[in-house]
């Protein structure tokens, strides 16, 4: 199993996604002998080994069943353990499109955070691109490295513990794209520009606040970036239900016309 290539059968050490219901998923690494408890009962890892991804697995205890799914970056995003606020698939998809990413692209990102975007970027740039990811939190860097290795994508990413605001990226003119998810992205614009292949590289900054956006755009413009656009993207979900609306009771329908005094009464 790897996040960049589908496999058919579940094997030991695979990271799998258990699907319990809509937006109700959990994940673990398969190890023979282990058991995972869910609200529908227990799932023995040994029961999974050798089965096809997508199979329905009845839980021990008979309270129900779950489906075992092959991990994808999108499933990972809704399942992963949060170590920081993460970026969700709707924004990830826009970032990927706007940065013109494809197999072979070289990308720099900061900060790594919980690795939600990182997995999606690696999926897009595989098999011959590379992601350079930076975070100033040592533990997060370690955890991210571990996860990338577990997920079969360690060879496509280099994670470094570094404060890019102070020390820059340490990479010159190698990236097709740079992505920033920082509280002060405007402090990193010049360093980011040095990282980009010249000319024609793309840059993206992701900020929750409009003040950050304004400062960043101004700085980008000052540094010579062109085609600066700012976009907001939100997903709306629709729930499909069959609903029967009962007819209102408005009383019996009259068959005679109402008359004024003096009119002749017409009978239908």
């Amino acid at each position: 199993m790897s996040f960049i290539n589908y496999s058919e059968k579940i094997r030991e050490k695979d990271t799998v996604i258990l699907y319990l219901g809509l937006d109700d998923t959990l994940t673990f690494k398969v190890k023979a002998g282990n058991t995972h408890q869910t609200k529908y009962g227990a799932v023995r890892h040994s029961d999974l080994i050798g089965k096809r991804y997508g199979t329905k697995v009845t839980c021990v205890g008979g309270k129900g069943w779950v489906h075992v799914l092959h991990p994808t970056p999108e499933l990972w995003t809704i399942t992963l353990p949060h170590r920081t606020q993460i970026i969700y698939s709707i924004d990830i998809s826009m970032i990927t499109l706007q940065l013109d990413l494809k197999p072979g692209s070289v990308v720099c990102e900061s900060g790594t955070g919980s690795g939600s975007l990182s997995h999606a970027l690696i999926r897009t740039i595989a098999p011959n691109g590379h992601l350079y990811s930076f975070d100033y939190h040592n533990q997060r860097v370690e955890k991210a490295r571990q996860e990338f290795d577990d997920h079969g994508i360690g060879h496509l990413v280099t994670v470094e513990c570094r404060d890019v605001c102070k020390d820059g990226f340490g990479l010159d003119h190698i990236a097709d794209a740079v992505f920033l998810d920082l509280p002060c992205p405007y402090d990193v614009i010049e360093a980011a520009k040095r990282t980009l292949k010249a000319p024609g590289g793309r840059m993206c900054s992701f900020s929750p606040c409009i003040e950050q956006v304004q400062k960043t755009c101004e700085k980008m413009s000052g540094c010579g970036f062109v085609e600066i656009t700012t976009i907001e993207c939100i997903a709306r979900n629709y729930d499909v239900k069959t609903v029967q609306l009962p007819a209102p009771d408005m009383g019996p329908v009259e068959t005679e016309t109402r008359t004024q005094p003096g009119d002749r009464k017409s009978v239908v």
Binding site: I4, N5, Y6, E8, Y19, L22, R52, Y53, G54, T55, K56, H67, V68, L69, H70, T72, P73, E74, S89, I90, I92, S93, M94, T96, L97, Q98, D100, K102, P103, G104, A120, R123, T124, A126, P127, N128, K197, P199, G200, I210, V213, Q214, C217, E218, S221, V226, I228, T229, T230, I231, E232, C233, I234, A235, R236, N237, Y238, V240, T242
Partner: protein, 494 residues
Amino acid sequence: MSDTLKIKEGDYVILKKGKNLVLAQALCKRKVNLERKYFVLDPLIGDNYGTSWEITKRSIKKVEEDQKSDDGDTAESTEVGDNRNIVDDNTAQKLSHDEILALKKDGMKGEKLIEQIVENSATFKEKNVYTQEKYIKKKKAKHLPIFTILKPTTRLLCSMYHAKTSPKIVLLRYDTVAQILALGNVHANMKALVVESCTGLLLGAIMDRMGGLGTLVQLFNGDAPTRTALDGFNFSEEHMKVLHSFPLNQANSLRIKTGKTSSEIGQTVEPLPAVTEEEKSCDEEARPCKKQKIDSGSENDNQQGAKTLSTSETEGQSEVSIEQTCTNKDRIADSNSDVAMATDTKESIQVSNNMDVDVPIEGDDGQLKRKWIVYPERQARREKKRKELDAARCIIEEGNFDVLIIASRFEPCPMVMKLLEFLSPSRPFVVYCQCIEPLYECFSKLRESREVVNMKITETWLREYQVLPARTHPMNTMSGSGGYLLTGIKVAKT
């Protein structure tokens, strides 16, 4: 990778002027049209993407870096002018349209021309500094014919097609394209099954993300797929090899080869059976317009043709088939009275390789028969097409697809229900529709099938912002809808 930044002859390029994007092919001496100005792109070839060019008479001239005027968004308001005394009655500008044209003809251009226009505006000085900036920007856009040359990418092509001809791409907005690519987990080395009515735009986006690795099968409507948008991506021949086509009108005849994975089935295509007479007649039925033309001839002709068909097969000659080109109406009209041709067939007839020839030959009984002769090139092409069709059929019936993507102008439900069987378990499918109602039906049917989980119908709301100091706000207009997506994951049937 710096050579990818250079424009090569034959490349499709994007000309960007303001918000306007135009796709053109960079061919020598070929004129292109940008906002009603016609010019050749020859000077561009060999230069870099990202450069700016000025349109001069019939050609273009490069604008050097230092000559580039800034975007003009740097004003900081120190005083506040306003419009309390400005009356909009078209008398503010002293220069008439003709006078400006005369100035341009004399060779005045660029910053100088704008300066002249500004000087001759009676109300310019009264305006607030942001309004002045906006005014200058507008005049520049109108009078300075400068564009930037860009390398086409999925992002640019999707924006362009959505802005200009969105009905041709079933109103697919670029953020929805982004969603389809992400939710479908489109990546290199995957096997994708696609039905689209976007003239190839979505195909291109998917192929771009596959990087030339993997397999992509498109089910197309009609006789041949429309893929004009695919040109813009500048895919190499090698890259195009991932793409296979199969006609949608034979989709119901597809049957999955159950129980076999792609690793168990050999990678090579099964050997083709010899072309039988039955298949030939199927060929005819697949071309209704041609059949009509055949009917307009006499009944006898058809029967003769059929006889000739079987005769030539047993004799082992080059095959013939009852085939006409729809374009040669004259010849068909004359077919009944055609006697003027020489009996010596191939050499004396001046026809192009494309056309089949109706030639009278002397039969055994001394009577003139009619015989259709097909030239070898045409025959070879047909054979190739048949081989590709069979190869595509093989690939589909193998199953094991990693994603099913539908973005078609047709009702999605029958297509989803039929094509889902070719998708492997634990793989996503994405159905796009410009209206939401057809997706409700899909949703219900799929739910009943108990073959899918994690089903969602979503719509994305996209808003662009103008971000300038003291002038930040959302754009005045926003796209109302980018279409709807039904997504889910197929699981093993329960």
